[in-house]
Symmetry: D3
Subunit: 319 residues, 6 copies
């Protein structure tokens, strides 16, 4: 890091409201940039919501997350970890979606993440709706299934919507299991809650061996105990982390399309991310931030605060 | 339910943002509808705020609650109860108020609820300000006093306002006790807090035997323990449930006219509603949702989530 | 109209904030309703935005337009026309879209409008993004091309987006011309403005004979003169009217996804609709109202005010 | 004015966002203040909306208008008039309403304004809904009818609402005519528009001799010509001015409960107020500003800008 | 208090939305008012944000806090304390800042508070950004250092910003320690969290003996235990209380410029203020409320609720 | 332009909501970028509001303007000019201000613009409050005075504020005249309006020869005629253009700190910018966009639409 290229701009030098916003004020290094080969962790925007069956908006997520991320500083307030000094991080820009064609977007995203993987870069994605996890997994898990720790209020394990539509933000992990991208025995879903259509998704989870920790169990056990189990199930092997912002209670994260009340606090939202320390993370995402429903911008700031915690966990596991 | 008339529209068939909004996507069955006699539980809007002494807006509550309620699905996420399959539910529409005449509105509401009672329908009301509980009680308790479980940050037991005005949203339960509509020994008020004018309301409660559980006791004991007491006091007899959304902390429910800070979380808000299981509920309301103060719409969604829990408790007690 | 079934609820009887909202407080008459055969003009919601290439949200348009429409009264303030007494109008509900599949949505919409046409009902549609005009035209113009008067800031005549995507809200009228649904000689596009990608759309218009009246000409000539020309071009034959709310300046209509500044006022927006008197209208739409970008709700109210003017023009031409 | 007591605080001395807000930064002089006898023009808040049949909120108007008014400076930008140097102005505070009792509020207001009149103070009122004009007229016109220049999109001449409710914000001037408070031959109503229930109000106006200038005539003639007629009708005799903010188009004034599109611009809104020069004004009001529907606060600022123009006209006629 | 001058207006007499807003509806008593000598506790607005390095807005704080404070009643809901009957309180108005000159503003503020101190009045300040604590301390601690209990998510102990700027809202307590205004051994900072630039501020705290209780310790120990320590450290001697609203989680207090997620709830926010009972408070402030980021106004209401708790603690210690 | 480096990203290729936002999707070329020497027109953000005496927020302007600018396309809709093909444009990033020190910020800005000038780049600045025009003029006019065409509702010609503060957003052009940076005979100020402190600024203008066209004259003559005069006064010589967004009526541009009602429409706002064709522009700015007061984002979009018109005028004069 000797030349400072990968050092984020400090708020002591340039006020945090100033400058072209990139994720965490990192350098913008597109895939064709001369220094791309040096990047170890790539922050990527996936601005789409073509899979959204309810209220749209996550296509605007990456831009608002970049904006809010300029308030993130260089050091973890609790652990003292300074991730940008441990690993070379960069903002790789956005993957270009096709907002009017879901299947084309899935192809574009898989292609982009395959290139990222081939470059040896660990992707930390800012969504986008939750369907974006599927093409990422297709790229990252193309040769062996991954474990997954999944924070959400929904399982996203449904079979289909609207009489046979297979690709929506309610189905990515059903597809991922069917396609062999996930190892269900190493998948843990945390925070599931809200009214249900029926039990089809939970029955599927049980059938294939996915562990679902519903919200009542989460509240009873607490975040630390739950994370012990999730880490145990990850089993020290390669694991993807998928964090839907609607895991958090909508008082803390109103800016999302399908909120469910009764969720964790922001402190618990950070605690579970801190509980990722020690997991072998090959990629992570933070999805479903929807700026049009976020009048004060707080959802995006919570989102990037969680991304920073995930980044610290990634940096520690790499360094 | 064989013909499907009383089955709500599913989000798997019609996206949740589509369709003329009715409460929980139930059929709209006004009192003169041919199938009104089949209805067991009636969801009713009471769009008024004529009793509001502070910030107005609850007259817009029912419409926003209907809108948010199209995100409610058919099954309780924790208990698995499917209320719409247990009892025939319908949206009975709104009772028509007179926004410029409080006493006329009280008459209109009492008349409407008397018809609902005569039809043998259990009313689940979406207010409106809290004064609407009075005409409902006049209709439901006209022949014997009811018990009541009351979630609120205020007792609404004041004598009068502005030099003798007897009917405001701060006085309904004072009137109800005076009129013999409530049996104070079976009334429990939970969550009371905020700065106080004086102790007149609390002194009245003590004098007549109403149990007030203030917020500091609620936080110390927790929702489950508190609900044991409330159920015990209800004594297995006919009980009304009145739920003021300002029971919940304003971070979770900003859309209300007289918030008080330091309140329960949304999870606790659901827990107390779940604690109604086993209570013999003859009617319930969710009041004081005020859309103009709810920039992200989250208050209404919390409100209908609570209504769904109350509906499950009603359905279980009926089925 | 003798039994009052088709008479809207009056604000003198039920306050305008009360009641399950239907378009202009008309009866809700789905296609399978016993009285559907009596309907002459059907107000229909098309809640989708699958063709949106920029900021989404029009899927929420119909619901907000219904809500705002309860402030519409029974009589035209200028002409004195009372449309609901001239023709039997009803709210036919929403056509059910598939938010995750554009082509499936186009099929669903075409099917719905074909049934409407077969019932002899003139459809007045509340969108939805502008791509919804295409399936409507496919249904209404299946046997002969229609004229069109089109209010918009964009021509929506582009060939394709994102390397070949043919169905977006920027392409419906290109497709409609290609499919023979429109007679270009009888098509007038009014209010076109904003920065341009290039001149491809305008060149196409010129080539096929569509008349484009750009905003600078509109401002120079005024709405009345422009409408004389549009009516002349419609030539007294069957004509469709398509009204994109972004025709109006964003100060008056901020709630839309692709605004262009420098547009007409709300008074001019009404004047051009009033200028439809005498046109033989076989269908009309008001599209691109996007509630997430409409903080005060004024866009929806302007939208339904325009719909009312269009309805008056339809009623006069039918009666 | 020698001691500076009646001189507003200048933004050159104290920033405009600082200080306890009073109308136009004038001294707060309640009716029992030692210097009340010196006051010539009293700015008064009427925080109520008990007569509102549609969307509430004007009870919050006076406070927001005071807040916005601290951006008003001392000199008219066009005429150079400095009203605070011509006449002694003060903020008399708010008249205390009873939000749960319309008739009691009418009594309280009439009593307050009778005292103001007895003190020889010309009242300039910030409403409040439009019903507040009635008790003001009862106080000011108790011994002879007044002329009136009325800016509005509604006539407020309806007989009654909801089956006989006589006192709403849609009826004040019907009552005022019936009670002999207005001389219809000297009343001019400007800007009337929007959909209509029926023609009852306009027929009444015609019958008694009130001149209604509807919006289409206003747009055709322009504000200056219209004001010539209004001044002529006022006939140099004592006249009240009532200005409903919904006179202005909702793009300029979204913060109101019953907007009607197609209205004047803010420049025209000022022009008609400037056209009051030469009218013998005995009182004026600016009503129906509703902060909950005014996300950017612009309606209140427009409202106080109009109040300042009216104040200049009053000051010139007095000085 | 015999003449009632210092008694706040009651919501039973004048609705809480009515009247010129002063802090807690107390009389407005500027420093040159004839009754200033009777005041024991002065509520003061400090409308400035000249020290803000991030998002501005606290200059608007005092006005919004006054507005929200009219919802505060006379009696503490838990302890029953009626502070306005124990001590004579008044709204002293705002200290006039210079928004374009930081150093001039510091001088103006120090001068104002010196006069307050000389009058023997305990100041309870509504900020303003956190730099305002510095001139207050300069006035109050000019002859001996004070202890301090400081609630915040930031230490505000940084040396300088932007290459040497010494006076910002991130530096006031560094300056205060350097100037001998604080006794570090009696200073406790509670709730510190968020990403960090580096450890410079925490190292300084350790070096001089300031006790920092970071958020993870706060969550582990709870507010009551933490406050025992803070009170012990205050040691029964004169202590200042500085309460930055960003101490509270942004779900509860979105209206602030530099939020940090993972903070206390509103109940905990009140609990720590209640934990001030028994501290010898010579002055207190509530700072960093920023209305432009507070869409529902809830932050200001939480702020004044905290101010009321602080006022009760002050009143008890004085009475 | 052969290698496409200076070609903005097209919305046909990457959706307009995607990608790291730069001004008009141009390449980001900081002053130390290898291709800086090729740049002819530089778009620059000046994120500060240290000179703001009223409501703050323009420090957030450049970021929101960049965000909105991704909706700008490549071709002028009226003239057909394609500025990015005529001249090489780039986003030079933001000049780094010191938000807590006005004089330091002035130095930083002057230094930055001196470098821009030395590079031969014409700067098009997005403010920032209006004081930023002063350091720009110091850099651009250091060797001879410039003419200026100034669109605003205020003259910004005041001598000082708050007892001697010389540098605020109300004083830049007083300073510029005093410093010999402007040739008053070639300065035209258009759109001046609103209440006035006094006539000091206008008297100064008259004394030195600046031409002020107040709003009443603007409305009477129309934008085209006014611009003829402004161009004549510019006299074909080097001229600066300063465009304060508060020139436009606040209905069109609510997001600004010191609005004045009664202003031009957005169409007129564009017309005056189009009227710059033929002026020899050496630099231009668009200032006072304040996102916190812009709930729907429309002000920023109007701002960049105006910037695009100014850019076209610059490109034509250069090409």
């Amino acid at each position: 890091m000797s030349d400072g290229f990968f050092t984020p701009v400090s708020g002591f030098d340039l006020p945090r409201f100033a400058g072209v916003p990139s994720f965490m004020r990192l350098p913008h290094v597109p895939l064709d940039h001369p220094r791309i080969a040096e990047v170890q962790v790539g922050l990527i925007g996936a601005p789409w919501d073509g899979g959204t069956t309810n209220r749209p908006g996550p296509r605007h997520g990456p831009r608002q997350l970049r904006d809010a991320s300029t308030m993130i500083r260089a050091q973890n307030g609790i652990t003292g970890v300074r991730p940008f000094e441990r690993v070379r991080c960069a903002d790789l820009g956005d993957v270009g979606p096709n907002p009017a064609d879901v299947l084309d977007s899935l192809r574009r995203m898989e292609l982009f993440y395959s290139r990222v993987r081939d470059l040896g870069i660990v992707p930390l994605t800012a969504g986008g709706d939750h369907l974006c996890s599927l093409p990422i997994l297709r790229a990252l898990a193309r040769d062996r299934p991954l474990g997954m720790i999944h924070f959400d209020s929904h399982t996203d394990l449904f079979h289909s919507y609207f009489g046979g539509t297979m690709y929506t933000h309610g189905t990515p992990f059903r597809r991922a299991v069917e396609e062999g991208l996930l190892d269900p025995q190493r998948v843990t879903m945390i925070g599931i809650r809200g009214t249900a259509y029926d039990s089809e998704d939970r029955d599927f989870a049980t059938a294939v061996g996915i562990r679902v920790i519903p919200i009542e169990e989460f509240h009873a056990r607490g975040p630390e105990d739950v994370m012990v189990e999730a880490r145990d199930r990850a089993a020290g092997r390669e694991t993807y982390v998928s964090y839907d912002i609607d895991f958090v209670d909508p008082a803390y994260a109103p800016g999302t399309g399908t909120p469910e009340v009764g969720g964790p606090t922001s402190w618990q939202a950070l605690q579970v991310a801190q509980g990722l320390r020690g997991v072998k993370i090959v990629g992570a995402d933070l999805v479903e931030v929807s700026p049009p429903f976020d009048p004060s911008g707080g959802t995006a700031f919570l989102g990037v605060s969680i991304m920073f915690e995930m980044l610290c966990a990634i940096a520690e596991s790499m360094g």
